[in-house]
């Protein structure tokens, strides 16, 4: 890209060719007033305020800065008298029909219109003021549209279309009557991402969760990391008087470019929920009674010591948290290993897919794993495999749409359901395979790539191992057979493979449906094969493919990095390796427990079930509801002698506990989160913890001291330093530096280790784990939901108002056969259990499958499941 030199307001600047004058000025700290231009949106040119004088090729003229590209030798003047006069008259027009309700408008103080009025020193205008009297639209719990304040800049319309891909709002009418609104003025039906609120330069769009509870100048803004999904968006927590009033986004911070989803922006009311735990609770005679910290921790340490003496340390298990910080989790596993002397520790994501850590680490070694999330915006091809990004990781969807809009990226989506992903991709191929046939589909894609000669075989043989074996193994499969087995038309498979093989960067996003599938391990391996194959395609050097493994919670990656898994020490150091144990022993000063769980299938819950684990210590997790097999976990918890739960709310697990310790939540904490792109980001503390709640790491330090092993950390900084010295992948991390720049452990990994050549593993699809039963004709599929996630969202009023009830999605055919209507309450019964839910009839899922989102944590979906695809039946109970 060529760099162009130009002069703006006597300041020589350089900008890449193709940028507009407005953007170039903004990047160099020169202010041009404007309401409609936004760097993350396409230009609109509607407000007419960025009028500047431009001298170009010896001609002087007046242009709009947002719509004029920079050119060599250009001279721009922002504030000539004529320009200012023009701008003033534009503002007079805008203000002539503006509501001017600044005293009651929540935008006041950060309003673009207000600021420009102030800057230009405008006196009452010359024009007759004509006020509009549109009613304020408040048809949903979080957004409010006051069209009397709208300046028709079109930013919300572009955001909705380009970033969220929904086009839920657009301009209506013409001329003076033009307004922003939904089609036919129906109630707003969108994802409620709140992007319109973030970009609105005036107070037309408002965040209703703020509810007039503060003014822009009264807030203390603290940027921190969102506590919901694993994208790790930066959110700015606005507090007043020690109370969170709203959450806003900042375009310049973090990885999300100011894009958030409904949970991140509006799901903050749980922070001050009255249901927060404020004091430690101890169960006495079957009832919880509040206790002091000293009593509670004394009791816990006494009981732990009794159990260690009676049954040995390995009879205590631990479940780490996908929501707590890296430091909390590190200290947790250190506490379990060094103080309790047990290796029976795990986290829910590892229990769901125990192979994933190994495979991710393997793919990191091979150099095909996990791009920096912002790199998705430079993608040329995006392949969502079993991933429902719109529901699970909405901001990844926004990044993908940016790649599609700016880079003309191709899109391939493979899923069992017809997942919603709106974009204007030119090549948008959807592969709807039948449940359980994903491996056949991946093999077929590889087959097409090799068969059609898209791959240079000599190069492939040089770059990888076992390529020949792969080819011969793939010779056994034919695309037409695969097409029959997967239910995807042959031509669609071929088309998808050709698109994937196109030059440029290709990012494969491996979704939850693949990772948590019964045949997940094989499927992920097959996907890595495909990725490695794409990586060696063609002659062109910049062809790089990578797999992004989607993780569910904000720190699902971090908890595994920190070694809250049975087989790894922090940083994926193999626990069975004596040298690693020696190294850890040196730093911790304690011997590690010898007992190592080797079998993947044996996890904490299983050990609890067969009575080997007598006590359990759970931090920040609710396994009773989130562990996939509900019956097992409930029985296992009942068998326990002693259960300690450390959480911010009295969750279902906490209700079964003997001691509950209240903890701080994200806005009250310090520490780091690692997102699914392996980026370590730092939290900032905005509040004091509610009541007597403490941060998890502080509790662990205190408890360790009571059990006779001193954790002498003064702050999370020291914990992070120890993590850096212990685990090779976090080496070089510095807490203070994280404030300015995030840390990506993969980048530092590649600085030290070269990418190893990939060894193809021959994947044969396992025999289908589908058991078809006549009495249970449908298969249950669970997945993510946009509006809820984890145990926080259920206490957020706004999210509950948007999505009050869990639902079951069934196809139209199934509904017709069973005589079920949309909105009916039905019973879903499996061999294990039954639950009642509302029905959503949709065309988006195939026949023979029912879909229940598992993120509505209060609904025990896990009670239905067994270890393979769960057959269920649906019926309407007659009363």
């Amino acid at each position: 890209m060529n760099i162009v030199q130009l002069v703006i307001d006597d300041k020589p600047i350089s900008a890449p060719e193709g940028t507009n004058v407005f953007h170039a000025a903004m990047n160099n700290g020169i202010y041009i007033p404007g309401l409609c231009y936004h760097p993350k949106l396409s230009q609109f040119g509607g407000c007419r305020l960025c009028f500047v004088e431009i001298t170009e090729r010896k001609r002087t003229g007046h242009r709009f800065a947002c719509a004029h590209p920079v050119s060599e030798g250009m001279v721009v003047k922002v504030n000539t008298p004529r320009v200012v006069r023009y701008r003033k008259s534009v503002m007079e027009y805008l203000l002539a029909h503006h509501e001017l309700s600044c005293p009651t408008c929540d935008k006041s103080g950060e309003c673009g219109l207000q600021n420009i009025t102030y800057e230009l020193n405008l006196a009452p205008g010359r024009f007759r003021t004509v006020r509009m009297h549109y009613p304020v639209i408040r048809d949903n719990p979080v957004l409010e549209l006051n069209r009397n304040r709208c300046v028709l800049c079109g930013r919300c319309v572009s955001t909705c279309k380009e970033i969220e891909g929904l086009s839920a709002i657009d301009f209506q009418n013409r001329g003076f009557k033009t307004v922003v609104g939904t089609a036919f003025d129906r109630p707003l039906e969108c994802s409620f991402c709140g992007g319109c609120v973030a970009v609105c330069p005036t107070g037309a769009w408002q965040d209703r969760t703020l509810g007039f509870r503060g003014r822009a100048w009264e807030f203390t803004s603290t940027p921190t990391i969102c506590p919901y999904c694993s994208v790790g968006c930066t959110v700015v927590v606005d507090t007043k008087a020690g109370n969170v009033r709203r959450i806003v986004s900042n375009d310049r911070l973090g990885i999300n470019e100011g894009n958030l989803c409904v949970k991140g922006r509006f799901g903050h009311e749980f922070i001050h929920s009255p249901e927060r735990l404020k004091t430690p609770l101890i169960r006495r005679n079957g009832e919880f009674s509040p206790a002091t910290w000293n009593d509670a921790l004394d009791y816990v340490s006494k009981r732990f010591q009794e159990i260690i003496q009676k049954y040995g340390g390995t009879s205590i298990g631990g479940i780490g948290s996908e929501r707590c910080t890296n430091e909390d989790n590190y200290l947790f596993q250190k506490f379990c290993r060094a103080v309790l002397g047990t290796n029976v520790i795990d986290n829910i994501s590892n229990m769901k897919s125990p192979y994933l850590n190994r495979l991710i680490y393997q793919s990191v070694v091979n150099g095909i794993a996990t791009p920096f999330l912002r790199e998705l915006e430079q993608a040329n091809t995006l392949f969502f495999f079993g991933a429902d990004v719109t529901e699970a990781h909405p901001v990844i969807g926004s990044m993908a749409r940016k790649a599609i809009r700016l880079n003309n990226a191709n899109l391939v989506i493979a899923n069992v359901r017809d997942v919603q992903f709106n974009s204007n991709a030119k090549n948008d191929v959807r592969l709807f395979y039948t449940l359980g046939s994903q491996i056949i589909l991946i093999n077929a894609l590889m087959k097409v790539i090799i068969e059609e000669g898209l791959v240079d075989e000599k190069k492939a043989e040089a770059a990888t191992n076992h390529f020949h074996e792969l080819c011969s193994a793939l010779n056994m499969v034919t695309v037409s057979e695969a097409s029959q087995q997967t239910g995807v038309p042959e031509e669609t498979i071929r088309n998808a493979a050709r698109i994937l093989a196109k030059p440029g960067r290709c990012h494969i996003i491996c979704g939850k449906d693949i990772e948590e599938d019964p045949s997940g391990e094989v499927a992920v391996k097959a996907l890595l094969n495909l990725c490695a194959l794409l990586n060696i395609l063609g002659n062109n050097e910049d062809k790089r493919a990578s797999v992004l493994f989607s993780r569910s919670h904000n720190n699902s990656q971090g908890v595994n990095d920190m070694g809250v898994v049975p087989e790894f020490l922090p940083g994926y150091l193999d626990l069975n390796d004596a040298s690693h144990r020696e190294r850890v022993k040196k730093i911790w000063g304690r011997k590690l427990p010898e007992h190592v769980v080797k079998e993947d299938s044996v996890n904490v819950i299983d050990l609890m079930l067969n009575g080997k684990v007598k006590a359990l210590y759970v931090i920040g997790e609710n396994p009773v509801m989130t562990y996939p097999y509900g019956k097992d976990v409930r029985e296992a918890c009942k068998k326990l002698d002693f259960l300690v739960v450390q959480d911010a709310f009295l969750t279902e697990t906490a209700q079964m506990a003997d001691v509950v310790l209240p903890t701080a939540i994200f806005a009250e904490k310090e520490g780091t989160f690692t997102n699914m792109g392996m980026t370590v980001q730092r939290l900032n503390r905005a509040l004091q913890p509610a009541g007597e709640a403490r941060q998890d790491w502080e509790i662990l330090c205190e408890l360790a001291k009571k059990m006779g092993y001193s954790f002498s950390y003064l702050s999370v900084k020291e914990v992070l330093q120890e993590i850096g010295s212990l685990s090779p992948i976090y080496a070089g991390i510095q807490y203070d530096r994280l404030k300015r720049k995030e840390f990506r452990w993969i980048s530092s990994f590649y600085d030290k280790n070269p990418r190893a050549p990939y060894t193809f593993e021959i994947i044969r699809p396992p025999s289908a784990a589908i058991v078809k039963r006549k009495d249970f004709p449908y298969l249950l599929l669970t997945g993510a939901s946009l509006n809820h996630h984890g145990s926080f969202s259920r206490h957020a009023k706004a999210l509950i108002a948007i999505a009050p009830e869990c639902f079951v999605e069934i196809s139209r055919k199934v509904a017709q056969d069973a005589g079920i209507l949309n909105g009916d309450t039905v019973t879903i019964e499996s061999l294990q259990n039954k639950i009642k839910l509302k029905v959503k009839v949709t065309d988006r899922i195939p026949e023979g499958i029912v879909f229940i989102p598992e993120d509505y944590e209060w609904v025990p979906v896990n009670l239905l499941r067994n270890k393979i695809y769960t057959p269920v039946k649906i019926y309407k109970e007659t009363e």
């Binding site: 600044c102 005293p103 007039f212 509870r213 503060g214 003014r215 100048w217 009264e218």
Partner: protein, 141 residues
């Protein structure tokens, strides 16, 4: 030398004995006469609907040099913005009248309330107390 002194004393005595020119105020038996520009305690005004006029815009709190005003805004059932709490720390107030000047809806006016002595050390005027001042004023005498 003594003559001018007596002259002066005579004038004083004349004024002192004449009830029309006497400067002594019989406070508290008699109310003092206050100038119309007197700035007493800020009082919250009541609108036609019988509720506070204040819209909780926060400008008075922002402009207050002694930072004695704190407001918590809220939304009522008609989506009107109103102050859920309005606290004025009379100990800190310097009666400058900036709040009155800043108020866009004339909801706060410094009237003639100046008797602020209390038995409580911490006496913050809350919204109801400030409105009561106006309510009393509106009662038929």
């Amino acid at each position: 030398m003594i003559l001018p002194l007596l002259k002066g004393l005579a004038l004083t005595l004349r004024r002192f004995l004449n009830p029309k020119t006497c400067a002594t105020e019989l406070y508290p038996e008699e109310r003092p006469k206050l100038s119309t520009r007197f700035r007493g305690l800020p009082e919250l005004q009541i609108g036609k609907d019988g509720r506070e006029k204040c819209v909780a815009c926060g400008l008075c709190a922002k402009v207050c040099p002694s930072q004695c005003i704190s407001i918590e805004g809220a939304e009522d059932e008609t989506h009107r913005r109103y102050p859920k709490t309005y606290e004025l720390d009379a100990f800190r107030c310097i009666f400058c009248g900036f709040c009155e000047e800043a108020c866009p809806v004339r909801a706060i006016i410094l009237r003639d309330t100046f008797e602020l002595a209390t038995y409580e050390k911490k006496d913050v005027f809350d919204k109801e107390k400030l409105l009561d001042l106006t309510r009393k004023r509106n009662l038929p005498r």
